[in-house]
């Protein structure tokens, strides 16, 4: 027994010592999970007599880590006194985990944010350094950085441009002589043809992002009022109004006719994506951001973007849905704002944005960028079309957004559209914007 106690005491002390060492060790070199900068840069840095600053870059795109690492290595070459450590927080919990860390300044000297509700929250929290007038702002295409503006001030710079509408398999369409339809009947006929030929018409990730993405293109022409969601949130409009019930019933129609894969509500975006890349499904109800990873899984894919038009062709106002996201901001609570700004400026440079775009497969909002992949060239065509800023992001009350996406899931699970709308409206009534 004594032996047990002695061992325990020893281990306890040892553990506390290790933990103690851990604490003091924390101030030394971090960022170890990134590829180490080349030996040269390291040596240069240690020769430098200047102060070494380490800034933290918080974002959610795990799949971009390697590309950022390369960009960071280049940045450190140009700015030997500044080290950048990436901190990736998963996108579902991003708002939750980011906010606390950003506020006390311990992380995220440079950080990314989503537009819409998250942006509003961060602005209210005074988290952004006002970037209006900074010279790197002019590197961006004017009308694409509005999502990061409030009251005339530029708080954040949207870096990515994405189209939140379904991707389609060009080769399958060609084989069956299909073209993106211009109205609802055309869309139904297209799906029917695909189904008859043994394809899943639409791979729908109902378990995570499907409802929130697909609702955009489905409602964009059913209700063209850009202010509609604000009206719903303040009670001036209701989900039980005709336009929303119609949207739900159209989604239900797609499901009931068998145009979604079985158990769509249990399918997440990765599985849906793989159905598409394996060419079992002809369309994927997500957005342009998945084109790169689809191509990675199947290099023979040829992809394009389309959007279902839910009204007769002559009534259609919008052709698609766009979002400017991954908004870069400098943390107002950061003690290293100059270094942070330098990093943002670096990313805003044409060459770097171009490298980012071509290697991650995302369109960017920086001007004069040349795209050299077929997917990006395809998506870039949409900048000339009349698209609507993603309506769903204009819902600022989280509970209401959840009610909307749940209503979509509900009709797919079999509920009657009017009832699903009514159920969702009850939640809205309990959560109206104050």
């Amino acid at each position: 027994m004594k032996k047990w106690l002695n061992i325990s005491a020893f281990v306890l002390i040892l553990a506390l010592l290790l933990a103690g060492c851990g604490k003091s060790g924390s101030s030394e070199g971090g960022g170890a999970s990134n590829a180490a900068p080349s030996g040269e840069a390291g040596a240069k840095a240690s020769e430098d007599s200047g102060k070494k600053e380490k800034i933290s870059f918080v974002h959610w795109r795990g799949e971009d880590v390697k590309v950022f690492d390369e960009l960071i290595a280049e940045f450190t070459k140009q700015n030997p006194n500044i080290e950048v450590e990436q901190n990736v927080l998963p996108s579902e919990q991003y708002l939750a985990s980011a906010q606390a860390k950003l506020i006390d300044g311990t992380a995220g000297d440079v950080f990314a944010s989503f537009p819409g509700a998250q942006f509003e929250t961060f602005v209210k929290a005074n988290l952004y350094v006002d970037l209006t007038g900074a010279d790197f702002v002019s590197n961006y295409t004017d009308n694409l950085i509005q999502a990061g503006q409030k009251d005339g001030k530029q708080y954040a710079l949207p870096y990515q441009l994405v189209y939140n509408q379904p991707i389609y398999n060009k080769k399958i369409f060609e084989k069956l002589n299909l073209t993106p339809p211009k109205d609802w009947d055309g869309f139904l006929a297209l799906c029917e043809t695909l189904k008859k030929n043994g394809y899943i018409p639409i791979a729908f990730p109902g378990a995570d992002i499907g409802p929130g993405q697909f609702i955009n293109s489905m409602m964009m022409n059913n209700n063209t009022d850009e202010d509609i969601w604000n009206k719903v949130e303040t009670g001036q409009a209701k989900l039980t109004d005709e336009w929303f019930v119609k949207t739900l019933s159209q989604i239900k129609e797609l499901n009931d006719k068998g145009y979604f894969q079985p158990d769509s509500l249990g399918t997440n975006k990765d599985i849906a994506g793989s159905l598409f890349s394996q060419e079992k499904a002809a369309m994927l109800a997500t957005g342009s951001y998945m084109m790169a990873s689809n191509k990675q899984q199947n290099p023979n894919l040829e992809q394009g973007l389309l959007a279902p038009i839910t009204v007769p062709a002559d009534q259609a106002v919008f052709e698609g849905i766009h979002t400017t996201t991954f908004m870069l901001g400098v943390n107002a609570h950061s003690k290293k704002q100059d270094a942070a700004k330098k990093f943002v400026a670096f990313l805003s440079q044409k060459e770097n944005a171009e490298k980012y775009a071509n290697e991650t497969g995302q369109l960017v909002t920086v001007k004069d960028v040349q795209y050299n992949t077929p997917e990006l060239a395809e998506s870039a065509k949409w900048t000339d079309k009349h698209t609507r800023f993603q309506p769903r992001y204009l819902i600022t009350v989280a509970a209401i957004e959840k009610a909307v996406t749940s209503a979509v899931q509900n009709v797919i699970a079999g509920a009657d559209p009017a009832k699903a709308a009514a159920d969702a409206q009850k939640v809205v009534d309990q959560n109206l914007k104050k």
């Binding site: 708002l95 939750a96 209210k124 109902g206 378990a207 894969q261 599985i271 009350v397 899931q409 699970a413």
Partner: protein, 289 residues
């Protein structure tokens, strides 16, 4: 012997850490429950408004509560029954038994993120194991939308929870069973008792304290269950797997309503307390205090 003064020293260090890092913040949470706070601006006192809303003006709260009950009941009943049965089969320290115990314990070691990844894969409709196996065995009719069907999703998750934690409960039961003196069984056998009677008269009363701990702990654990549900379904589809803990998290961190979330947490605590005490009453005769 009267308790010595030095007992206060026994209490001091642990109590101090507990008070500072746990009790005090909890009290702050209580104060928060009477306020409105979005995490950023000033906190505004609003009295009982949060509580009123929780009890009368929040359908989702009611739904989360019902889901929680479904989840908890299925987990507690099956996990307790299963772990006790297996513990009885395995309480002798033979090599085979030790092997089985280690095997069953294995899932407990996995982090819930890992368990969620594994079962997400198993339940997957297209590439997952379960439907695949059923299909190959010609039992396609048994295939379900395990996580996509609002009616059964919560039970599918309960199954994963049981899978992950039964091994842990077996350990507790084995400890309890092994504490029962062997002579009692000898005596019972000499009196002509069969296996079932021996169980009823010797095992059950003496393993009851362990059973109480297992049941209470499983109840609280499954009521609070967060990681698994969060990682597997995030509360959907259509709120069917939203339980109180995930709902509170969503209210706080997606809705930025920390005051309301605090009030919900208080309600949550009360519910847990009621259920736990109710359970103690049920397993009478083994009240710990």
């Amino acid at each position: 012997m009267k308790p010595g003064k030095s007992l206060y020293l026994f209490v001091l260090p642990g109590l101090l850490i507990y008070l500072v890092f746990f009790v005090y913040p909890t009290l702050q949470g209580l104060v928060l429950s009477f306020s409105r706070w979005d995490g950023v601006s000033e906190k505004t006192w609003i009295g009982l408004d949060n509580y009123r809303r929780m009890l009368t003006g929040d359908d989702i709260f009611g739904k989360a509560f019902t889901n929680n009950l479904k989840f908890m009941l299925s987990v507690v009943v099956f996990q307790t029954f299963l772990s006790l049965t297996l513990a009885i089969l395995l309480f002798k320290n033979t090599r085979a038994n030790i092997f089985f115990r280690s095997l069953y314990f294995f899932p407990t070691i996995l982090s819930s993120v890992a368990v969620a990844f594994i079962w997400g894969f198993m339940y997957n409709p297209n590439v997952g194991v379960i439907n695949n196996v059923l299909g190959k065995a010609g039992l396609n009719v048994l295939a379900h939308n395990w996580l996509g069907d609002p009616k059964i999703a919560i039970y599918s998750i309960a199954f994963a929870q049981i899978w992950a934690h039964t091994g842990q409960m077996i350990v507790v039961f084995v400890a309890g069973l092994q504490a029962i003196p062997h002579d009692l069984y000898e005596a019972a056998h000499l009196d002509g008792a069969g296996r079932w009677q021996a169980f009823r008269n010797v095992t059950w009363p003496l393993v009851a304290p362990a059973a109480t701990i297992v049941a209470a702990y499983t109840t609280i654990q499954s009521f609070k269950a967060f990681d698994l549900i969060f990682a597997l379904t995030g509360g959907g589809p259509v709120y069917s797997t939203e339980i109180l803990s995930t709902y509170i998290y969503h209210t706080a961190f997606q809705g930025s309503e920390f005051g309301y979330a605090a009030a919900q947490s208080m309600g949550f605590m009360v519910i847990i307390a009621v259920i736990t005490f109710g359970q103690f009453k049920l397993l009478r005769g083994n009240r710990v205090y």
